[in-house]
């Protein structure tokens, strides 16, 4: 499983990753993409978690997310080698 992510430390965790307002399916059996055509990540996916972490939790005074928070998140973008999944960060 190829991820575009180098997890530095005891990576991530998901707080806003369950944001219901985001579009997309939670179906991690979808091999085609974890993101829809508009680069919106699937809510509850590893991609959504990472995007939220980087965009909304890059602060100096917070503790890192517990590994258990993101350990089992589905990663359809990783599974499908979707190289565009994290493009919004750049």
């Amino acid at each position: 499983m190829k991820r575009l992510i180098l997890v530095a430390g005891l990576l991530l965790a998901a707080s806003a990753c369950n944001d219901e307002s985001r579009s997309g399916s939670n179906d991690n059996n979808d091999d085609n993409a974890g993101s829809n055509g508009s680069n919106e990540p699937i809510a509850g996916s590893f991609t959504a978690f990472v995007l939220d972490l980087v965009n909304n939790h890059t602060v100096d005074d917070a503790a890192p997310m517990d590994y258990a928070t993101f350990e089992l998140l589905p990663d359809p973008d990783g599974d499908s080698n979707n190289v565009d999944a994290y493009r919004p960060l750049f």
């Binding site: 180098l6 530095a8 430390g9 990472v50 972490l53 890059t58 005074d61 503790a63 890192p64 750049f90």
Partner: protein, 533 residues
């Protein structure tokens, strides 16, 4: 924590024990995860009362990062991670929590204002300006850096209170600058014909916010490449302690002289974060002269690789800071903490060290030594729990540098005067004990001949032979000979070191080895007999 406190209490009554950690090769590549990120791999921490002439009112702190640098490691050499946070923490009230933190934040920029040096290439009239592939394209001196194509700068902040939520203020040079520069690594003698003079240009006198010594003392700051100062036969040690007790000649003899001409780190460089701070700026007050120090590095919790990277944007880092390296006393994570917990130790804080207590009370290293050298009559101590090591590792030595906390920190009693360079003993405070008897443990005696209480484990100076000290302490140097049958054997690793191998002025660690035209071989003699500069 209760267990550790109980043990610490026992240890205090127990006569006391020098020492420090157990064993063998400081903190280079010591945990599986940190090997993925050498730029943020802390290797050694030195904390000592400055012994440079005229600097009696200062404490020097040297935090080394980026291990095992081959001097010839071009073309990019060893710039630090611009997305990481490098920190030095100081506990000055004995609660194992940081009261003062120095935060280094690095940045990286191409030459020519960020675009990189370009050369016109092609026939006249059809030339294209093409970026060069090297970080230097002409000789660089203290006065001429026009040929430099990569620049490292950094800011330094002092945070009082908790490192993440405390009050942070910018440290400035006495000329008012809040941005500092780091010299290029020692590419070679053609690029940097006088590296020592060049590096001196990056030495700063600083004002530390919130600190106004009555004598007007100013601090000093330097960050840059230095010659690796740690001496250890790391290859032999991790090769099942391949330190032959019969002295067959091709490896060091574990019971031979302190210095046998071996040191695997002789041909290496390292990157040093060096601070010299007025002592009164570090201590809480004169009644509490003991400080506990440790260094850490942290990175943002997420790193997303840019699939179309540029120099400026190879990746995107985000999320809270996650600590991934921790160093205080040498060799702790390397030879004390078990393999399953090494990464956890690197992410931990001293206040939570009770979770690692078993590694200290029931250490494996002495058992390994017995297994490997039992045929030569070597026996591990048979006292459990190892209250001597608890005192050495976790509490400090009563009457020397114990400060009431129970945590793994580099403790320094700032009230014990520095020993001059020429009078230092590489076995430091470890020689401040009367030998044990069959029933009595070693007893602290600071008037004992050879005693150098300003040395390890009361802080650590570059010339302290911490490897030998730690092997001996692990094998029971401080215990009575009934509990530690081999505790008085003069264990060594054969890679001797002393103050001669270092400068006698800040930052003490010597000019790095050049990448060209030559570098010493692993078997070359460490510079322990050279002139003091």
């Amino acid at each position: 924590m209760m267990l550790v406190r109980k043990l610490a209490s026992g240890a205090t009554a127990f006569a006391l024990v020098v020492g420090s950690t157990t064993a063998l090769a400081s903190s280079h590549r010591e945990a599986p995860f940190i090997t993925k990120m050498p730029k943020v791999d802390g290797t050694d921490l030195y904390v000592f009362n400055s012994y440079e002439s005229g600097r009696e009112k200062y404490v020097t702190i040297l935090a080394n990062y980026y291990p095992v640098q081959d001097p010839a490691g071009g073309p990019n050499y060893y710039f630090l991670d611009p997305d990481a946070l490098y920190e030095i923490h100081v506990d000055n009230d004995g609660d194992a929590k940081e009261d003062i933190t120095f935060q280094f934040d690095f940045d990286l920029m191409l030459g020519e204002g960020g675009s990189g040096i370009k050369l016109p290439v092609g026939p006249d009239g059809q030339q294209k300006k093409v970026a060069v592939p090297f970080i230097a394209v002409a000789p660089i001196t203290a006065g001429d850096q026009a040929g430099q194509n990569l620049f490292e700068t950094y800011s330094l902040k002092v945070v009082r209170g908790a490192r993440r939520s405390g009050n942070g203020q910018a440290v400035k040079s006495t000329s008012g600058d809040a941005m500092f520069a780091k010299p290029l690594d020692y590419i070679g003698q053609k690029t940097l014909p006088d590296y020592e003079a060049y590096a001196q240009k990056f030495m700063y006198e600083i004002d530390v916010p919130g600190c106004s010594p009555s004598g007007g003392e100013k601090g000093r700051l330097f960050v840059g490449q230095r010659k690796e100062g740690f001496a250890v036969n790391v290859g032999q040690i991790f090769d099942l302690l391949n330190l032959d007790p019969d002295g067959r000649g091709d490896v060091a003899n574990i019971l031979g002289p302190q210095y046998q001409g071996f040191n695997d780190l002789t041909p290496k460089n390292v990157t040093t974060l060096a601070l010299e701070i007025p002592t009164s700026c570090l201590t809480k007050d004169e009644s509490q002269p003991i400080i506990g120090v440790w260094t850490t590095s942290s990175v943002r919790q997420a790193r997303v690789i840019n699939p179309t990277p540029s120099f400026q944007k190879p990746s995107r880092e985000g999320g809270p800071w996650a600590q991934i390296s921790r160093v205080a006393n040498p060799l702790v994570n390397e030879v004390v903490i078990g393999l399953p917990d090494k990464d956890k130790f690197n992410s931990s804080e001293p206040k939570d060290d009770a979770q690692f207590a078993d590694y200290v009370t029931n250490p494996t290293l002495p058992e390994i030594v017995e297994i490997l050298f039992g045929g030569a009559g070597v026996r591990a101590p048979n006292l459990f729990p190892r209250v001597d090591l608890v005192a050495a590792f976790l509490t400090g030595i009563e009457g020397v540098n114990a400060n009431g906390s129970t945590a793994e920190m580099m403790r320094l009693n700032t009230a014990i005067p520095a020993t001059s360079c020429t009078s230092q003993n590489p076995y430091g405070a470890a020689l401040c004990f009367d030998p044990p008897t069959a029933t009595a443990n070693a007893m602290l005696n600071t008037s004992r001949e050879g005693c150098d209480p300003a040395g390890f484990p009361n802080g650590r100076r570059p010339g302290d032979d911490v490897t030998d000290i730690e092997i001996r302490v692990a094998m029971g140097y401080l215990l009575n000979t009934t509990d530690a049958p081999s505790g008085q054997l003069p264990f060594v690793d054969g890679a001797g070191v002393n103050a001669n191998a270092f400068d006698k002025t800040f930052p003490y660690l010597r000019t790095p080895l050049p990448g060209a035209p030559q570098m010493p071989k692993p078997g070359d003699l460490p510079d322990v007999t050279g002139d003091r500069r």
